[in-house]
C-alpha cells in the first residue's frame, strides 16, 4: 500500500478505527455510538465480522449501511436493518434485557477508570460549555455486557478528573461497579489513536498494553492528562492490512459523497 500522507502509509486516526474494528467479533451484538465507534463497527462488518449485529439507538437492529450515517437515525439504517423497533422497546427489551454484548462509546472527557463525560465542561448548573448530554450512553454503559471506548488522545479529553459522570465506568476503580449493584463488566477496552489500553484486573485503571506502530511511550504520556501506566510486556499493534485500509477509505469516500450530495441553501 503506497500512501504519502504519513511515513507509515496510514494516519493515527485510521489506525485507531482499524484497531477498534478488530476488537469486534462476528457473533457480537453491538450497540453503536455515533462518530468514531460507528466507523469501527462498520469496518468490522465489512472485513472480518460480516454477521455482526449492529444496533443504533434509533431502534434499528442488525443494520448494514453502505455509508456511515450522519445521525443515529438516518434512513439507510432502517432500510438495511433486520427489524426496526420503537425507542422504548430498544431501551427496555434489547438493552436493559441484556441482549447487547458490546456497547461502543466515544467520549468528550474520559478518566483513567473509563468514566465518561459528554454533559458539561465546568459546573452542571453554571456550565462553561453545555455539551449535548448522555442520550443513550448512561444505560449503555451499565446494561451492555462490556463497554469499548474509542477516542483520539488529548490532554483536554483524557483528564485526571472528569467534570460530570455522564456514563459510569469503573467509578473510583476496584469493585466500585459491584458496590453500586452493576453486574456488567463495564469498560474492558480503550482504543486511542496511539495505543490499545485495558483495565488493570484489580485496580481497573486503564493500562497501555499495545502501542501503535511508530508510537513512543512519551507520545502517549504527552497527550494524556493522567500519569500513564504501561504493561510490563508491551505489544506493538499490527499495522493496518491493505484490505482494512481500503475498506475504511472506501467507506469514508462513499460517506463524504453521500452527505455532500443532499442540497444546499434550503430552509431548516
Amino acid at each position: 500500500m503506497s500512501d504519502n500522507r504519513t511515513p507509515l502509509g496510514f494516519t493515527p486516526n485510521e489506525m485507531m478505527t482499524i484497531a477498534a474494528s478488530r476488537a469486534l467479533k462476528n457473533d457480537d451484538v453491538c450497540f453503536v455510538g455515533i462518530g468514531a465507534p460507528s466507523a469501527a463497527c462498520n469496518v468490522a462488518r465489512l472485513t472480518h465480522a460480516p454477521d455482526i449485529t449492529l444496533i443504533y439507538e434509533s431502534g434499528t437492529i442488525g443494520t448494514a449501511p453502505d455509508v456511515l450515517p450522519l445521525s443515529i437515525g438516518d434512513g439507510e439504517l432502517c432500510e438495511t436493518a433486520v427489524t426496526t423497533v420503537a425507542v422504548p422497546e430498544m431501551f427496555r427489551y434489547w438493552l436493559q434485557g441484556g441482549r447487547i454484548s458490546i456497547g461502543f462509546l466515544g467520549a468528550a472527557q474520559l478518566d483513567k477508570f473509563g468514566n465518561i463525560n459528554t454533559t458539561v465542561i465546568g459546573d452542571y448548573f453554571h456550565p462553561k460549555t453545555r455539551l449535548p448530554g448522555g442520550g443513550g450512553a448512561p444505560e449503555i454503559a451499565t446494561s451492555s455486557q462490556q463497554v469499548y471506548i474509542t477516542m483520539a488522545q488529548s490532554k483536554r479529553g483524557m483528564v485526571e478528573k472528569i467534570d460530570f459522570f455522564t456514563s459510569f465506568g469503573h467509578g473510583e476503580g476496584g469493585d466500585h461497579r459491584k458496590r453500586l449493584g452493576i453486574d456488567t463488566a463495564g469498560p474492558t477496552l480503550l482504543i486511542t489513536d496511539l495505543a490499545v489500553w485495558k483495565p488493570d484486573p484489580v485496580s481497573k485503571e486503564f493500562t497501555v498494553v499495545s502501542l501503535h506502530p511508530g508510537v513512543t511511550r512519551q507520545q502517549v504520556q504527552e497527550t494524556c492528562g493522567w500519569v500513564v501506566k504501561f504493561a510490563e510486556v508491551l505489544d506493538e499493534t499490527p499495522a493496518p492490512s491493505e484490505l482494512e485500509l481500503k475498506t475504511l477509505r472506501d467507506l469514508q469516500a462513499r460517506t463524504k459523497a453521500a452527505h455532500e450530495g443532499t442540497g444546499k441553501g434550503k430552509a431548516a
Binding site: 455515533i34 450522519l70 445521525s71 434512513g75 422504548p88 436493559q96 448530554g133 442520550g135 443532499t262
Partner: protein, 285 residues
C-alpha cells in the same frame, strides 16, 4: 373526534401559552412545520419536552418561547452542539431556561408510562450517573419481590403532542413507518395530539396488519403538510437534508444571524413553503 384542519388552525386550537408540549420525532419525521407555525403564533412560557431537541427547539428557545426544557440529548444530530440552547443555558439569553435532563432510557420509559396511564416509570438505569444527583425527578424504588433498587421517573403527560407522519386515510387514521421513535407513545401520553402528514389516501385496506397505525380517535387534528418534516426526512418520501443541519451550526452561532434567518425562513413563510424545500430530496428517498 379528529378534524382535518389547516395547520394554522390546528396549532391555534390545540396549543396555549404555558402548555407542556412535545414535538417528537427521533431524527426521522420531525414535525418542523408544526413547530414553525407555533413560532409564528408566538406562544410563550412553554415547557418543551423532547428526547432529542434539535433544530426546532433551538429555534423556539432562541425565540424566547420556552421557560423549561425536558430532554435527554440536546445536540444537533450528527453535527454537534445546539447554539441557541447553549446561549439560553449558559448565558440566560434571550431568557433563563429551566432544565430537566434525563437519559434516553429515562425519557423513553417516561413516555411509555404516560401512554400506559401510570404515574411513574420504573427501570434499571442511572446507576452511577451524575444526572441522578442534579435532577430531583430521578428517584428510586425497591422491587417488592427481589429487593432490587430500580430507577423511577415521573411519567410524561404533555398537554399536547405534535408529530409528523407519512399518511392519513380519509377517516383520519394515521400511519407511521420506518424509524418510529417515540411518536406513538407521545401521542397516547398527551391530552391532545396534532399530526401533520405527507398525504391523505382513500383507505388503509392494503396495509400490513402490524404497521403502526394511530386510530383516528387518538388524534385531535390532522394537517396535510407535504415536506413538513424538512430538514429531517420522511421514509418513502424524501431524504434527510444533511447540508441544512451543517448550515444550522453557523446560523445559530450568531444571535443576529439567527434572528435574520428566522424572519426570512419562518416568520415570513408558511406551511405551504415546505413542499418546495424537499423537492430536490425526493429522488434520493
Amino acid at each position: 373526534m379528529v378534524k382535518f384542519l389547516p395547520l394554522k388552525q390546528a396549532v391555534a386550537e390545540n396549543l396555549n401559552n404555558g402548555d407542556s408540549v412535545a414535538f417528537e420525532g427521533f431524527t426521522h419525521l420531525i414535525p418542523t412545520a408544526a413547530a414553525h407555525e407555533a413560532i409564528r403564533q408566538g406562544f410563550r412560557d412553554l415547557t418543551l419536552i423532547r428526547m432529542t431537541p434539535d433544530l426546532i427547539y433551538d429555534q423556539m428557545i432562541g425565540m424566547g418561547m420556552a421557560k423549561k426544557i425536558v430532554f435527554s440529548y440536546v445536540g444537533n444530530p450528527g453535527v454537534g452542539l445546539l447554539r441557541r440552547a447553549r446561549d439560553a443555558i449558559e448565558n440566560g439569553f434571550p431568557r433563563p431556561i429551566e432544565v430537566e435532563e434525563h437519559s434516553h432510557a429515562g425519557m423513553a420509559n417516561a413516555y411509555e408510562a404516560g401512554a400506559a396511564g401510570l404515574p411513574c416509570a420504573v427501570f434499571r438505569g442511572y446507576r452511577g450517573a451524575g444526572l441522578a444527583e442534579v435532577n430531583p425527578n430521578i428517584r428510586s424504588v425497591t422491587c417488592p419481590f427481589t429487593g432490587e433498587v430500580l430507577a423511577a421517573v415521573p411519567s410524561i403527560r404533555p398537554d399536547v403532542s405534535f408529530i409528523h407522519a407519512q399518511k392519513a386515510d380519509r377517516k383520519g387514521n394515521v400511519l407511521v413507518e420506518g424509524i418510529i421513535g417515540i411518536q406513538k407513545e407521545a401521542v397516547l401520553a398527551a391530552k391532545r395530539a396534532v399530526v401533520t402528514v405527507e398525504e391523505v389516501v382513500d383507505t388503509f385496506d392494503d396495509l400490513h396488519p402490524n404497521l403502526t397505525v394511530l386510530p383516528r380517535w387518538t388524534i385531535a387534528a390532522i394537517s396535510v403538510v407535504p415536506g413538513g418534516s424538512h430538514p429531517s426526512y420522511a421514509h418513502g418520501y424524501y431524504a434527510r437534508d444533511n447540508a441544512a443541519y451543517l448550515e444550522w451550526d453557523e446560523i445559530a452561532a450568531d444571535r443576529e444571524k439567527f434572528q435574520a434567518w428566522m424572519k426570512a425562513n419562518v416568520i415570513e413563510k408558511g406551511a405551504d413553503d415546505f413542499a418546495a424545500r424537499v423537492e430536490h430530496l425526493r429522488k434520493a428517498a
